[in-house]
């Protein structure tokens, strides 16, 4: 089924802004918030991993349940994980669709990548001296 | 800024009593001197009209709302773009050019000093940042006090000395030059969407009227011996019938200073309207000019309107909202806590529009009906009445009845019934224009003492040489030549250096910011006033220690120190 993904600022992501290579930042930005009913329908539990796929790409995230969202709407902190599934088309405005992205969600056992992994996947080179 | 000799200059220098003499002017170290050595660079002025550098005593070129005028108007920015060229940076903008754009264009017109008409103290740093990128003119900032809670509170308490002390602290903290009141009482009322109707209406938040604010500010200003007088934008700008309010305001102005006026009333065109509404809107320039003629303690500027697109911007928030409701175009508003407000809307003054045509006539009438040119200065309230690049046309209109008649034939056909302009024959002289564009400004601003507005030894070497041979043209007939001549200097000299030649800026330049610091006795120093501090920390959104503009923002600057009459033993 198709879900609507929003991204936005949250405290843990903000607090790790100066430490984006850290475990803390990775944990804060690779969580998919999702309604318990949606988890139920996916047949998984809060904390399980899912693969989220949009027209722009796909990424593995860990789930966390919340009732603050409507069913069918999912949320992720802004950051490199959100961007892995955000497209570059801006409708002629300069602003890409960071919000209300249609996505497919399926359970997975694949690992959540690190930030460096994500950067190397698109041609970057990690610096971990 | 080495030695320069400007030869064969045909000089008009009203402050020095020179009215058309062929002279050589020597400069050294940025000042005019008696002699220079034979090593001096020689510039031949070829008998061209040579005047002290132009001074705009009321313009909007720098600061929060000016920049917002740019920010919100990409269509205006694209209307005036120039590429990087020699020493000149890229510029954009027609009615609100970028800082470099303002500086280069003003320099091409021979202007070397600019007074920013309205600076909100809380945002003063911004104005100073832009001054730093207006390199070819010296800068002065009028500081807005119309809704200053500290000052208004002191006036409410009847304590003029405290009001003066608050003015002194604020003006030197923000490195400002003069006291500006914009729609006094009205901008504060606008905080809750209200306004005041005229000078005798009590404000909502303080138990005082605009009359009391204006009078008290004038008294406080004189207690502080500030170089300039209070600089007033009257209440009720732009409304039909407002001339009675303006006359009433002029009536309450005492004569307190024997070297200059006690009140500078700005853009008076916008305050000289008759009628009870837009349908019977008409000019009341005659009673206003008569009043000015009778009251030497008042100096005004024209606030001339010229046809075409421009952007209006003022601290008068409620007025701009009314204008927005009339035009339905964009509207920006920016209220500044405990101090003032501002509004911006774009306008297009059209000849087909009767009201616009009457406004155009009123500005000219004021300049022609005020007998003494020292009492009516030339300005468009740039960019409110028109962008300053229209000054040459304004000059030509004032010097030529023929030009006025030709223009008048193209405005709205009913204008003649509403304005006295067609019946006015006066044509201003070169000397009058020199007064209205530099000497009068220097005297009204009180800056002759720092070397502005004249060309005798000791003065700042700010000079404009226009490609006009006064004996060869009749301005009454050859008005096109007047426009052309004033549109582009042959040389603009700033602080003893040629900064602009035939329209092109030649150097990056560096301006000087002039600011005042009244010497206040310690009991009137607000830095240590517990009540003032407590009120500040409680209601402002920034800390008092972060409020004063730091020295880093001033670069080159000149502090005018004044002695004050605040000491307690004085009473």
């Amino acid at each position: 089924m198709t879900y609507t993904l929003n991204s936005g600022r949250v405290i843990p992501q903000g607090a790790f802004v100066e430490h984006k290579i850290s475990q803390g930042y990775r944990e804060a930005t690779s969580v998919l918030f999702i309604h318990p009913m949606d988890l139920f329908q996916l047949g998984i539990e809060s904390g399980d991993k899912v693969r989220v796929t949009s027209a722009a790409g796909s990424v593995v995230l860990r789930t966390e349940e919340t009732e603050t969202l409507r069913e069918g709407c999912v949320f992720i902190a802004l950051g490199p994980y959100a961007n892995a599934i955000t497209g570059g088309y801006s409708h002629g405005t300069g602003m890409p669709d960071y919000k209300a992205i249609p996505v497919e969600i399926e359970p997975t056992d694949d690992p959540v990548m690190t930030v460096w992994d994500l950067m190397e996947e698109i041609g970057g080179l990690r610096y971990d001296n | 800024m080495g030695e320069i000799l400007l030869k064969n200059a045909w000089v008009i220098d009203p402050i020095s009593g020179i009215n058309g003499e062929m002279m050589d002017i020597a400069m050294d170290g940025g000042r005019i001197v008696e002699y220079v050595s034979d090593k001096a660079d020689v510039i031949d002025a070829e008998g061209f009209l040579t005047l002290p550098g132009g001074i705009d005593s009321h313009t909007h070129t720098s600061g929060t709302k000016v920049n917002f005028g740019r920010y919100m108007s990409p269509e205006d920015m694209r209307a005036g773009r120039t590429p990087k060229k020699g020493a000149m940076h890229v510029t954009s903008g027609y009615s609100v050019p970028t800082t470099y754009g303002n500086s280069y264009k003003y320099s091409a017109l021979g202007y070397t000093s600019l007074v920013e008409g309205a600076m909100a103290p809380l945002e003063a740093r911004h104005t100073h940042e832009e001054f730093a990128f207006t390199p070819l003119q010296d800068s002065f900032a009028n500081v807005l006090f119309d809704g200053n809670w500290g000052m208004l509170g002191a006036i409410e308490e009847g304590d003029i000395k405290r009001a003066a002390a608050i003015i002194a602290w604020t003006i030197s903290a923000v490195k400002g030059f003069a006291v500006k009141l914009t729609n006094p009482g009205g901008t504060e009322a606008w905080g809750f969407g209200k306004n005041v109707s005229c000078i005798n209406q009590t404000m909502p938040r303080f138990d005082i009227t605009p009359t009391e604010i204006i009078r008290s500010a004038i008294e406080a200003n004189e207690l502080l011996h500030l170089p300039h007088s209070v600089h007033l934008h009257c209440n009720n700008l732009g409304t039909p019938g407002n001339y009675t309010c303006t006359l009433g305001t002029f009536d309450i102005v005492p004569d307190l200073n024997d070297t200059r006026q006690t009140l500078y009333a700005t853009h008076v065109q916008f305050h000289s309207y008759g009628g009870s509404g837009w349908s019977d809107f008409c000019s009341k320039s005659e009673p206003i000019a008569q009043k000015v003629n009778m009251r030497p303690q008042i100096v005004i500027d024209m606030g001339q309107v010229m046809f075409g697109r421009t952007t209006t911007m003022t601290a008068d928030g409620p007025m701009e909202f009314n204008l927005y409701r009339l035009h339905h175009d964009k509207w920006s508003n920016h209220d500044v806590e405990l101090e003032t407000g501002s509004g911006i809307i774009p306008v297009n003054y059209r000849k087909k529009n009767l009201v616009n045509s009457i406004m155009w006539a009123i500005g000219l009438e004021l300049a022609l009906l005020v007998e003494n040119p020292w009492q009516c200065l030339l300005a468009t309230d740039n960019p409110n009445g028109a962008p300053f690049v229209k000054y040459p046309e304004v000059i030509a209109l004032l010097m030529s009845k023929k030009y006025r008649d030709a223009e008048f034939a193209t405005v709205h056909q009913d204008t003649g019934k509403r304005v006295p302009l067609p019946a006015i024959d006066r044509e201003l002289t070169w000397h009058d224009i020199a007064v209205m564009t530099r000497a009068g400004q220097a005297r009204a601003l009180g800056i002759t003492g720092v070397g502005k507005g004249y060309l005798l030894p000791g003065a700042e070497a700010d000079i404009a040489v226009y490609p006009i041979r006064v004996d060869d043209i009749d301005p009454a007939q050859q008005y096109e030549e007047v426009i052309k001549g004033f549109s582009q200097t042959e040389y603009t000299i700033k602080r003893g250096r040629v900064v602009s030649r035939r329209g092109d800026a030649l150097v990056h330049g560096e301006n000087t910011t002039f600011w005042v610091k009244p010497n206040v006795p310690s009991e009137y120093d607000m830095t240590h006033d517990e009540r003032f501090k407590e009120h500040f920390e409680r209601y402002y959104s920034i800390r008092m220690s972060n409020y004063p503009v730091q020295e880093e923002y001033l670069h080159r600057n000149y502090c005018i120190r004044t002695e004050t009459d605040l000491s307690t033993t004085h009473d």
């Binding site: 929003n6 903000g14 603050t68 405005t93 | 920010y71 209220d335 209601y539």
Partner: protein, 430 residues
């Protein structure tokens, strides 16, 4: 040593009441600050030397070599892009604009991916705004639309709105009403007197409905709009009209969703309409502490707040064409300089793919995801901690950032000045 009234270099609130304790040239204590600012003040992670990629490996290089390489790359480029700027001070941003002009480059800031739509809307209809103290003293109705200040601007409510002391209030909390509009029940929504949960992308439709209702034309509005019942919309309209002073704050929840700037335009027009009845203002919740400063600098220098293309020698502006996301997605730039921002963490994948494919240089104190995309990174002093300079709060109030500790790192301005000077020499304009 205790230093008081320090402005915080984190978010657009630019709180200027932070107290820092300094020991041995290190910040050891932070007071009055939120968790976000606190983390920045106490951060120890940073890049210690300039680094450059050589033969597929990172090597340490001198500042001279890094600057030379940067100038060489930029001056040789046909379509250079200069991006970032929101995390540095105005004085450095000024040099950036001069550099862009010298290079014939595109220059854009993080505004492009945050409040770009707000600016486009303001350019269409203007902006009835105010300084934050005006809200603090007067606003009896605060509307947070598509923003979540409790998490993104943690002290916004206590310094400027709901919990702030205000001149016209006896009881600051009970005398003010709060309305929150969001797609999810955020932390801020939990404290609202009225929470409007809108369907994603439905903001525009709700704003239109509110405008019609304020005008007394609720008759045309359907019973439900974007998931919100007409009755609730009427309650909000009543709250607005009864308010003495209403303040709307909006965030990326409005600017990033469907319709983009049209949403903000509609919100501004609602506020303009409400000003016919009472007093209303509207303000953007700007993110970086000096994102607004760059808008101001570029505007006074080039005439436009962001996204300026100097390639033709004049300043050209057209978001959607000259904006960073679009030029990267179209793969136009052939060199890129990133300063004081982190596109690696914040741009869509397709955009950073192109950054990784062209010579990209970063000037930033920290190692971050963008580091991986670069050929060169030059570490610098941290603004507001190690270097003083001007920043603009979200409401346009300029504040001087302080230097509180000494550093051996050069400043952004020093590095940019040297690059600019070297580019002039290489261009034959030295």
């Amino acid at each position: 040593m205790i230093i008081e009234d320090v402005p915080c270099p984190f978010c657009g609130c630019l709180c200027d009441d932070i107290t820092l304790t300094i020991k041995n040239n290190r910040i050891v204590g932070v007071e009055n600050c939120c968790v976000l600012g606190n983390a920045k003040y106490l951060s120890k992670q940073r890049l210690k030397h300039p680094i450059m990629r050589k033969e597929g490996k990172w090597v340490e290089v001198s500042f001279d070599e890094a600057i030379e390489e940067t100038a060489r790359i930029l001056s040789g480029a046909t379509r250079p892009l200069l991006y970032g700027w929101s995390g540095t001070y105005n004085e450095a941003q000024v040099t950036a604009v001069h550099l862009a002009e010298e290079l014939g480059a595109l220059i854009d800031s993080t505004t492009s991916v945050c409040h770009n739509p707000s600016i486009l809307a303001i350019q269409e209809v203007g902006h009835p705004g105010c300084t934050l103290g005006q809200v603090k003293n007067r606003a009896d109705l605060v509307i947070y639309w598509g923003c979540n200040p409790i998490e993104a601007h943690p002290r916004h409510l206590s310094r400027y709105t709901t919990y702030a002391d205000g001149y016209f209030f006896e009881n600051t909390v009970s005398d003010r009403k709060v309305v929150v509009v969001d797609v999810r029940e955020s932390e801020t929504a939990k404290i609202a007197d009225e929470f409007i949960q809108v369907k994603p992308g439905g903001d525009y439709l709700i704003l239109s409905a509110l405008r019609a209702m304020v005008r007394g034309r609720g008759d045309v509005v359907p019973a439900t709009v974007a998931g919100v019942k007409k009755e609730q919309l009427q309650r909000v309209v009543d709250l607005c009209q009864k308010a003495r002073y209403g303040a709307v704050f909006f965030g990326l929840g409005v600017s990033m969703t469907r319709g983009k700037y049209k949403n903000i335009r509609n919100a501004i027009e609602l506020v303009s309409e409400l000003n016919r009845k009472t007093k209303f203002t509207i303000s953007a919740m700007r993110g970086h502490y000096n994102v607004y400063g760059f808008n101001e600098v570029l505007t006074w220098m080039a005439g436009y707040p962001f996204a300026v293309d100097f390639s033709r020698g004049i300043a050209f502006y057209n978001p959607g064409e000259t904006t960073v996301i679009d030029v990267l997605a179209r793969k136009e730039p052939d060199a890129c300089l990133v300063v004081a921002s982190d596109p690696g963490a914040h741009f869509p994948k397709t955009c950073i793919e192109h950054m990784a494919a062209i010579p990209t240089i970063q000037i930033d104190p920290c190692v971050n995801p963008t580091t991986a995309l670069c050929q060169v990174q030059i570490p610098v002093a941290i603004t507001g901690i190690e270097v003083a300079g001007t920043a603009y709060r979200m409401d346009g109030v300029p504040i001087r950032m302080k230097k509180v500790v000494e550093t051996e790192f050069p400043t952004d301005k020093q590095i940019l000045d040297r690059i600019c000077e070297r580019v002039r020499e290489l261009n034959g304009n030295g």
